[in-house]
Symmetry: C2
Subunit: 403 residues, 2 copies
């Protein structure tokens, strides 16, 4: 576990605690608790996988009922594919915490990540709750960032400050995710909080926009998880009136900061992709619309042939060309398509660019960060997707996980 | 190179030859020639990848102009992503052969497989042509099956006999393909021939039906190739009138035999999938239509998480459940979905089946051939797709290929 940069700002109005509940791992914390001050507003987005995990369903229901006071997050067990028992288990964990804290059970949002299909060990979680409540601390962000990890090798913790009516607001977020990463709504798990006061509908809008540009634009393996969730909390402890005008400079400052934190966390997830050795940015330009731009990006990002060539630092651009060709764009004129590796034009007029040299391609592919740019010649829409390569370690990690 | 079973029937009216042209490989044949007797009818299907290779475009054009006399097939170079030069090279190879044989250049169909984006070494092909023409032999099927391989480890050669008006007709086919296998029309390359006489439109129908049930229902890595092509030739040397009635017993016998040969070749491709250690059959039942059945099959077959679990013989059924959930079926009622590993029910009512035991799951996954069956509870449509696992060797083969 290497935590490259765990600098962060605490968020007034929010305390955290972690514990080693022994859910799956030994010798490490695997349970995290967020406590919000009364009056905190929360927005959340959840996975679109049809097999949504029990905690996702419970969290969504609780959030619809009232403003949350607690987030209860466990690693090691996803409580997904667990049917009605999974729902009862998630509710039982919320109820146990609520009873100890003297709160409504619906004030607790549960989140789980880990192995699918195993019953949640509720008794172990229950046993850890008194210690969690006793240990709440405004500065426990790094411990929480570590406690929610599964196959991740690095904690992901990002802070930004922004100005609201002359005051400096804090914004801090954590995320986990390394495999089963092709978020369709939000990534595996991400939690952000600010001390600014924000009107609820604007908080939801701010989160939706940020997620679309960050977590929904990354993919490790094309496998959308059953447990994806992203929460943005605004404690209001900064003081002053709530941000309520979407045209205001305050909202712009908030929205930019939230997007920046989400993008930084999303990039950290890709850098920590299972077995990843390369950070790959795909830019698809001149598309007719977002849908076709995204289809081309996905065809490249999910091609095992492209991903293994990236791992080998091999400028095997024919595999990129083949992926563009199979993306299913109707009436694609291949003579209009251009493909670049970094700044090097590799494909034009349906074939290899006249000036292209293998040496130039190799130089781009040798770097740890690679840009692949595709211009489709069909319109003016651009999209950007982050992905990584496919290495021996991806196979090892996923063949060994659970064993 | 192990050729498990290269028993075959020659097809009267068809001769073959192979040569070592040094296109990319050394110490092996990499060029194959088919010569058809005058009067032979040919049907063919080609890739739907937008970046179709030059030989695919030329072969389609030549086939539209007249009945072919020759198929000229090289391995080691795909002549794809080669622009206008690629088209000129494919035409030049056809013209060189036609001149030697005293034939129309359009009587030659070119096929290429191998690395994308390199110019076709036409001079080496031209130099090998006189030897090919001199060496034509009705019994050279096994040599041709070997000459067209790239990363394949086994030759793929299948024969069936069928009855036409009391005569026994021969049907023999070869195929190659191991990676970039997710045919969308036909697989990488497959060539079938019969000595029965078949009316041209019926021959096309027969091939289209067979391909849909065989090559279009397999996937190694989801990467549709630029060079996929499948040809079915009918020499007519069996004698008797051409099969012309789609309702006749003769047509049924032909169609069944062609489908059987295509299915056997398609299965051989999956068994020889790059790095494959498992043959996996996906059966999706109770779908509302073919499209959604196929989407569920593809989501499972292309999930790197499912494929690595298969490699590890790990009954990690949560990954299968997550793949079904992300297939994008609108309004999927997860309580109605059942999933089986072999005969073992693993998922029902949104979670693990009550009787499921890890031991039972492990027993199924330990076998070299695995059946995954998913019932969606939405309709009466069934589809069947063959795929394989994702192993270290897949990464090795594709990281090293070209290096």
């Amino acid at each position: 576990m290497s935590d490259s940069a765990l600098m962060f700002d605490p968020v007034p109005g929010l305390r955290l605690a972690t514990a080693a509940a022994g859910i799956r791992y030994t010798h490490r914390d695997d349970l995290a608790l967020f406590e919000f001050v009364d009056g905190t507003q929360c927005a959340a987005v959840f996975t679109r996988n049809a097999f949504r995990a029990a905690p996702v369903m419970v969290a969504e229901r609780h959030l619809a009922a009232r403003a949350p006071r607690f987030l209860l997050i466990n690693a090691g067990n996803a409580n997904a594919g667990t049917g009605t028992r999974g729902l009862a288990d998630a509710e039982a964990a919320c109820a146990a915490l609520a009873e100890l804290a003297g709160e409504d059970p619906r004030a607790v949002l549960p989140f789980s990540t880990g192995v699918i299909g195993e019953p949640l060990p509720v008794a172990r979680i229950r046993a850890a709750l008194p210690g969690l409540l006793a240990g709440l601390d405004e500065r426990a962000w790094p411990a929480a960032a570590r406690a929610i990890l599964t196959t991740d090798t690095r904690a992901k913790l990002v802070s930004r400050r922004f100005q609201v009516a002359g005051r400096t607001a804090a914004l801090t977020g954590i995320a986990k995710g390394s495999g089963m990463i092709r978020p369709d709504m939000a990534t595996m798990l991400a939690f952000l909080a600010t001390d600014a006061a924000v009107e609820p509908s604007l908080l939801r809008r701010c989160l939706a926009e940020a997620v679309d540009r960050s977590f929904n634009a990354i993919t490790v393996d094309g496998d959308t998880s059953t447990n994806d969730a992203c929460v943005l909390a605004a404690t209001g402890r900064l003081g002053g009136p709530a941000i309520a005008d979407p045209g205001s400079a305050d909202y712009r400052a908030l929205a930019d900061a939230v997007t920046e934190v989400c993008e930084a966390l999303a990039e950290a997830i890709i850098r920590d992709g299972e077995g990843a050795t390369k950070l790959v940015t795909l830019v698809i330009e001149e598309a007719a619309d977002q849908d076709e731009a995204r289809r081309v990006a996905d065809a490249i990002a999910h091609s095992p042939l492209v991903k293994t060539a990236l791992f080998a630092s091999d400028p095997n651009w024919g595999r990129i060309l083949a992926a563009v060709g199979r993306a299913g764009l109707s009436g694609l004129a291949i003579a209009a398509v251009r493909i670049w590796l970094g700044e090097v034009l590799i494909v034009t007029d349906g074939g290899r660019a006249p000036d292209y040299t293998e040496e130039a391609g190799r130089a781009v592919m040798a770097a740890p960060e690679i840009l692949i740019r595709v211009a489709l010649g069909r319109g003016r829409v651009t999209t950007r997707v982050l992905t990584c390569d496919l290495s021996y370690d991806y196979v090892r990690i996923n063949a060994e996980y659970r064993s």
